[in-house]
């Protein structure tokens, strides 16, 4: 969780570069591929091994990224990988990706909400939620849906650390608290 603090300057730098060169898509691909790479277990042990020099690790990652993306990395992308490895921060890549996506969303005035419901939502219900949220936040809203049966009923809408909890579970626990206080 603390990785967020470390990831912030990296994400901000990438956003600025991407805005200058209009290369948002390319950077997103690189970051996604990078996340995939560092999430791999054998890759993690390779990155952690003291036997390999930082330069070797950087070269390996760069070539892997090139293969996954099926293109040559640009000079900036290469030096990003170098800097990341030089500072021993390869494991921050997933956090950089999420911060990067969040910034892109803010720039394009769009928001992604996580909607958790007790049962699978129908398309009609999803549309209703999207239009309600769009009205409330005046933004282009898209949602990711999850199912959690323990909610019993209703939905929980999340945007980062902001939560709108409309589930039966929350109502019951709130009622429980009220009764135990009085």
């Amino acid at each position: 969780m603390e990785l967020v603090t470390i990831a912030k300057p990296y994400a901000n730098a990438i956003i600025e570069i991407a805005m200058q060169n209009n290369t948002h898509e390319e950077w997103r691909d690189v970051l996604m591929a990078g996340t995939q790479v560092v999430n791999d277990e054998s890759m993690q042990s390779f990155l952690a091994s003291p036997g390999e020099t930082k330069t070797n690790k950087a070269i390996a990652i760069s070539s892997l990224l090139g293969k996954i993306l099926d293109r040559n990395l640009s000079a900036e992308e290469k030096s990003f990988v170098d800097i990341l490895l030089e500072n021993d921060r390869a494991l921050v890549l997933p956090s950089i990706l999420s911060l990067f996506e969040k910034s892109i969303n803010t720039l394009s005035d769009s928001k992604v909400f996580q909607v958790i419901s007790a049962y699978k939502l129908s398309d009609k219900e999803k549309k209703q939620i999207v239009s309600d949220l769009a009205d409330k936040y005046t933004a282009n809203v898209s949602i990711e849906t999850f199912v959690d049966e323990s909610l019993v009923g209703g939905v929980v809408i999340k945007d980062g650390d902001k939560v709108i909890d409309l589930s039966i579970k929350a109502r019951v626990s709130e009622l429980n608290l009220q009764l135990s206080i009085n």
Partner: protein
Amino acid sequence: MQLNASEISDLIKKQIEGFDFAAEARTEGTVISVSDGIVRIHGLADVQFGEMLEFPGNTFGMALNLEQDSVGAVILGDYLHISEGDIVKCTNRLMEVPVGEEMLGRVVNPLGKDLEGKGEITASSSRPLEVVAPGVIDRQSVDQPIQTGIKAIDSMVPIGRGQRELIIGDRQTGKTAVAVDAIINQKNTGVKCVYVAIGQKASSVAAVVRKLEEHGAMQNTIVVSASASDSAALQYIAPYAGCAMAEYFRDRGEDALIVYDDLTKQAWAYRQVSLLLKRPPGREAYPGDVFYLHSRLLERASRINADYVEQLTNGEVKGQTGSLTALPIIETQGGDVSAFVPTNVISITDGQIFLETDLFNAGIRPAINAGLSVSRVGGAAQTKAIKKLGGGIRLDLAQYRELAAFAQFASDLDAETKAQIDRGQRVTELMKQNQYAPLSIAEMATSLFAANSGSLDDVDANQVVSFEAALITYMNANQSDLIAKIDENGDYNDDIAAELQAAIDDFKSNHTW
């Protein structure tokens, strides 16, 4: 108490019907780490400083450190069931405690929960823990006395309503005894008392509560206790909680007295919390804001004017001033008043009562050092009779201190010096007073008058204590009119002086001691 079954279900039905579920966006966070009651939380972007946080299992905490991407908070109460990954919710409320008349006579923890098993307290309202002290415009000067019933204090270091008078001394010098006596003396005066015990043994707190009950002072007293086994966070907030409860009375145009026993331990608790929150340590490892910790607390003790009371009560209480008198206690180590916390609190308060081990061991109890004890504002508030008679006492003792070293060469001294030493010895004896035996204004005036008028000079120094006790018994039995006259409003004039002299002469010629 028998509970009526239908009553309960009716109550619950009402509660359920009136249950209001707000569908507001709340900020949530996740616990990153838990250590010694300190949690670090990721998320909670909108949290306010000092906001109450809701943890799982009906546990609450308080946000104290707002950092980039994380929040440092203290858990109030038990923290063993909280683990990494738990969800923390904002409550949008600053820390509050229940306040009101219902709290009187109860022993509560710093969150206002009953500690004695006497049942839940249904307080009429609540107040935030931290409030800004009344401003300059809202205040009035201190001009009414608060009687502690202790001769040495009321005559030499008088305390006014709204004053902050520090009680300072080493361990085992009777600091708590002075404070408890002061509370006991308020039992029929309408002054509401709050006794805040911080980091003390639960047995000591129980002993104080028992004594207050024995002397009938518990019904106008609230005891707030964060004992040594409670978490440091609770010990840290205890004085603020007690102050909020006392301020309720002040703001309603009543008089209140609060004892913080003791602020040294609160500073320790705050040091612990601060170090665990990774705030940089300063002198004696205290954090940088330890002065502000005490100054903002003691600044809340004040006398407020009638306009402000009217404004605070929405016109309900008119023409009455309110006051909150604070008696903070500081424990020194080996008489060292130049340590960090003692110097801070000495400079914040309006005077101090200095208790000394040597005096205590010499049998002078209360062990008040008359030379070092001062009251910066109390003189303006002193009762007329005590003020007139007390001045001589202070002078006698000051002269005696200078000459005391020569006392053993008594035979070689000139008559005047010898008289001063004799007077000083008798006054020193006279200032001795038993615990839990506060004196009324008239009783005190009688004792002081006896010393001032020279009536004690022909009494043996080691018989002064029994002389005084017998004199007061005689006065209450045979001179009740005079006693009532002085007690009525503490007046003192030539007539009263003559009557007192006559009474003492009568006692000396017709009674034994």
